[in-house]
């Protein structure tokens, strides 16, 4: 395989003077999946995907390919030029950007993590499965690892490259009719607490046996980090993207500078460093900025790419997705500012409410208020007088997240990294009220 730098150079050369952008993603990934206490799926993939975009005076064409031999590249460029030639001009199409100084990457590549073997992953699965067998429990989950590298180059001199490794241990445990779950993604395998995750999921499954039915209605909720992140991510994507903002389809439209959410809530998007760090440039090779989206409940800013920034009369914050893009820019590296105390403190401060481990199959009903629905999953418990009283059967919530997070009562100090649309660092939280609209049978 040719080096990616040479592939980019060759493509830019073949563009024949037409403004050209190349985005290449190399990816090596492996995943061991287990179910019913055995390995059920064990896979590895190796890929290179190259995207070539030609932009000429308001005309654009994009070709995606995964073969980088000269014949394929020549054919792809010829096809793109042909598409370009027959197209009418689009006066709104921004030209390619030039190079800008990029911030340093946060050091997110770990060679040991990238190179974990099938035997390592199988051993980690086996540790959990054997423990579960001993206690009559059943293990399900995944161990996955790998690395990816994104390269963006264009004919105006942009050249940006970012590499990161990844590893995740995800555990679901069934104990008769009780379920427990724990998951940790990381950049380096040394950060993963395999034994701790296994124990947490097993203990939760045991505690979740014989769940009781509770009536739907409005409950105070303590949300573990994964559950909280599942809701915050919708606020981020549907509230703070420049395109939805420009179209008047975001709750932030016309509300910047106003206190719309709880004073306890501060959210930033920060790819540069911190817990949800990632690629320090966007998909046009422009530097990402650190953006405070919400400060003490006041809506401060939305994220932009060059196109939405121009329409809004603002500056790009470096949040372009691969262009052209239907969604427009969205924040992909969210961090909720931690508060004080622990998850246990949140529970202690709750007179009556529900503890939610995780939400399942969440979806949007109305973008303007971020009205959502979804189910609880893998460990839902009734809290009474500051203590976990008993497990409950799963419930469905239906509510506006703007309303729910206006009622944010407490934010814990401990945070967890969760992978949603992107990396999201989120602590456990307590909401004054979440509307549960129906229940299910388990």
């Amino acid at each position: 395989m040719r080096k990616i730098e040479h592939i980019c150079e060759r493509i830019l050369g073949l563009a024949g003077g037409v403004p050209c952008e190349v985005t290449a993603e190399e990816r090596e990934a492996a995943l061991t999946r287990f179910a019913d206490n055995v390995i059920s799926q064990n896979v590895a993939s190796s890929s290179l995907n190259v995207s070539v975009r030609l932009l000429d005076a308001g005309r654009s064409a994009k070709v995606n390919l995964n073969q980088a031999d000269d014949a394929t590249l020549k054919a792809a460029l010829a096809s793109a030029r042909e598409i370009l030639k027959r197209q009418k001009k689009d006066p709104h199409q921004p030209a390619l950007p030039g190079p800008r100084r990029l911030p340093p990457a946060a050091g997110l590549y770990d060679a040991d993590t990238a190179g974990l073997t099938p035997a390592f992953r199988a051993a980690k699965a086996a540790e959990l499965a054997r423990a579960c067998r001993r206690t009559g429990q059943t293990a399900y989950g995944t161990v996955d690892n790998g690395w990816s590298r994104v390269t963006i180059a264009n004919s105006r001199g942009v050249f940006a490259q970012h590499r990161e490794s990844f590893v995740t241990h995800s555990v679901t445990v069934r104990d008769r009719d009780g379920f427990g779950w724990a998951e940790q993604p990381a950049r380096a395998v040394g950060e993963i607490d395999f034994a701790g995750l296994n124990e947490r999921a097993r203990a939760k499954a045991a505690a979740g046996r014989a769940p009781r039915e509770v009536k739907p209605g409005r409950y105070t909720v303590v949300l573990e980090p994964a559950a909280a992140a599942g809701l915050v991510s919708y606020l981020g994507v549907y509230g703070f993207g420049g395109q939805l903002y420009n179209e008047g389809r975001s709750f932030a439209s016309g509300a910047l500078g106003k206190r719309v959410l709880s004073p306890l809530l501060t959210i930033e998007d920060n790819a540069l460093d911190g817990p949800s760090a990632g690629m320090p440039f966007d998909f046009e090779g422009q530097p990402r900025s650190r953006v405070t989206l919400v400060e003490n409940g006041v809506l401060k800013a939305v994220v932009h790419d060059r196109k939405t920034a121009k329409k809004a009369g603002a500056a790009s914050t470096g949040h372009a997705l691969p262009q052209p893009n239907y969604m427009g820019p969205i924040p992909l590296n969210l961090a909720v500012k931690p508060g004080q105390g622990t998850l246990e403190d949140l529970i202690k401060g709750t007179e009556r409410g529900l503890l939610v481990t995780q939400f399942h199959y969440t979806n949007l009903l109305r973008p303007l208020t971020v009205e959502m629905t979804g189910m609880t999953r893998n460990g839902t418990f009734m809290i009474e007088d500051g203590r976990i009283a008993y497990p409950v059967k799963n419930l469905r919530f239906t509510q506006s997240m703007v309303e729910a997070f206006a009622g944010l009562e407490a934010v814990a100090a401990e945070k967890a990294l969760v992978m949603e649309w992107g990396a999201l660092s989120c602590p456990a939280v307590r909401l004054a009220g979440l509307n549960f609209s129906s229940s299910t049978k388990f």
Binding site: M1, A29, L31, A35, D36, I39, S40, Q41, N42, V43, A44, S45, S46, S47, N49, S60, A61, V63, N64, L65, N66, Q67, I83, R86, Q87, K88, D90, H92, P118, A122, A125, A126, T138, Y140, T142, G248, R249, P324, N325, Y326, H360, Y361, N363, L364, L365, R366, L368, M372, T373, G374, M375, R377, R396, T398, S437, S438, S439, T440, K441, F442
Partner: protein, 481 residues
């Protein structure tokens, strides 16, 4: 391609694998989008690669690659064997595959006009024309028109002697108008939401939709929804039409009948199913008029092919027959668990880089003998809902909640005013049990689902759900936050 693929089979045989196969897949895709008078997408895609699956001493290994040399194919096959050896560290018994004859065959989606041969400018002209009609009202803040075409060319070789070449072609189109005013946002689409309609076939699929004939209505209904009253809350009768019924079938029957998830093999991600195997042939899934048929031979179906990715020949079978659970979506690994000695053939992979997994086949609600008019006339107090906006269902596929684009009030047997934000919620077997009338074959339409996600790593598959409008009694509607 078969010559290159043979390398993997040689490696699998040489190492004494129980079973091995290689799928070489060349994907060609084209996606065009126009939004608010601008080109929002114009992408041509071609990928080529292969996935090698090995069953070694009863354990699975899979690896994929895209370097098209004999040496790279051999290295990928060896990697799959190494992974299978690791799988042996945690196994209960040997995986055994249900037998299937070896086939040497070629199969291709029938089509009239190659969509990739239609000039890009002709496609853009159509889209810009539609976009302009959609925006002929200042309250339309987002207009969107899209076209999508896919061609998947597969070469599949197995150690059992199957040598299957298939070319699967699909084409789709859709348009959406979103109206925004005074803190309200409403959308309408045609032929349906989520990127539009898609069928197996060529450019003739797009022509048959007659998009220009519907653009004015889509725009006007989106605007009308801004001022429409909210769907009332309560327990009422419900008629479901458009792609909403397709999604209801997909979520509450399709996924629930995937045998791998029924057996718990999806528990870590998508979940399991209430439709457990002891219920087969006994469990009342719906009323006696409910018949749901899986069909890999459905003309124009997105899951229609000559063979699945287990090299099993296409079949047609009941999932629900006369209201009773009658079958599952199966692969060759798990079908023996329900006493079958042959898979129904519903195992597919997303592209070259993913392992084949159990998938929903084309799954359709068989038509009844009624008509929408008759369904309406039999309702005193109810709502007709059309086209999906949001969907959510629990991990055993019992409690679901759907939101639709538009509703129409039904009072005393007559369809009345437009309603905004219609939603309904139910429990799967109770809901299908409340189905008391289904419109006839004249209103039966296939609806393509092009974005079905499943598995870890995530895979996307396409399938079709045919249906005609159906009536459900005493459903909880108007669930609002």
């Amino acid at each position: 391609m078969f010559k290159l693929a043979t390398k993997a089979i040689e490696i699998a045989d040489k190492h004494g694998a129980d079973f091995g196969d290689i799928r070489v897949v060349e994907d060609r895709g084209q996606y065009l989008a126009v939004k608010n008078g601008e080109t929002a997408g114009l992408t041509d895609e071609t990928t080529l690669g292969y996935g090698v699956r090995v069953l070694y001493k009863g354990a699975w290994g899979f690896a994929s690659g895209s370097e098209m040399t004999g040496r790279a194919v051999a290295a990928t096959a060896l990697k799959a064997i190494a992974i299978a050896k690791a799988s042996r560290l945690l196994m209960r018994g040997r995986v055994r595959l249900a037998p299937e004859p070896a086939y040497q065959d070629f199969w291709q989606t029938p089509f009239l006009k190659d969509p990739f041969a239609v000039p890009v400018q002709a496609k853009l002209d159509l889209m810009f024309r539609l976009d302009a009609v959609l925006r002929r009202d200042r309250r339309i803040r987002v207009s969107a028109v899209s076209l999508r075409f896919n061609r998947e060319h597969q070469w599949h070789l197995t150690t059992e002697g199957s040598r299957i070449e298939q070319v699967l072609l699909s084409s789709g189109a859709g348009m959406t108008a979103t109206a925004v005013q005074d803190g309200e946002s409403q959308l309408r689409s045609y032929p349906c939401s989520h990127g539009g309609q898609m069928h197996g076939g060529g450019w003739e699929v797009v022509e048959a939709m007659d998009l220009p004939a519907h653009a004015d209505r889509v725009r006007d209904e989106a605007v009308a929804l801004l001022k429409a009253p909210r769907c009332p809350s309560g327990v009422k009768d419900l008629i479901i039409s458009g792609n909403q019924l397709a999604l209801q079938i997909h979520e509450s029957v399709g996924h629930a009948s995937e045998l791998d998830r029924v057996l718990g093999y999806e528990e870590s991600y998508a979940g399991s199913s209430f439709a457990t195997t002891e219920k087969l042939g006994k469990f009342r899934y719906g009323s006696p008029i409910v018949n749901l048929v899986a069909d890999a031979t459905l003309p124009g179906g997105l899951a229609t092919a000559g063979y699945d990715d287990d090299a099993v020949k296409a079949q047609r079978w009941h999932i629900v027959k006369d209201g009773v659970l009658a079958g599952y979506m199966t692969n060759r690994e798990f079908c023996g668990r329900i006493g079958r000695d042959r898979s129904w053939g519903s195992c597919r992979a997303d592209g070259y880089a993913n392992i084949p997994i159990t998938r929903i086949c084309n799954l359709s609600l068989m038509p009844g003998s009624s008509s929408t008019e008759e369904l309406v006339s039999g309702i005193k107090d109810g709502v007709l809902m059309e086209n999906n906006v949001s969907w959510s269902i629990d991990q055993k596929r019992l409690n679901f909640q759907f939101g639709c684009e538009a509703g129409w009030e039904i009072k005393n047997g007559r369809k009345g005013r437009l309603l905004k934000n219609p939603t309904y919620q139910g429990i799967t077997p109770e809901f299908w049990g409340s189905c008391d009338a289904i419109a006839g074959p004249q209103e039966w339409r296939p609806w393509g689902v092009a974005n079905c996600g499943k598995g870890q790593p995530g895979q996307v598959a396409m399938m079709t759900h045919g249906s005609s409008p159906a009536r459900f009694r005493k459903v909880r509607i108007g669930v609002h936050g």
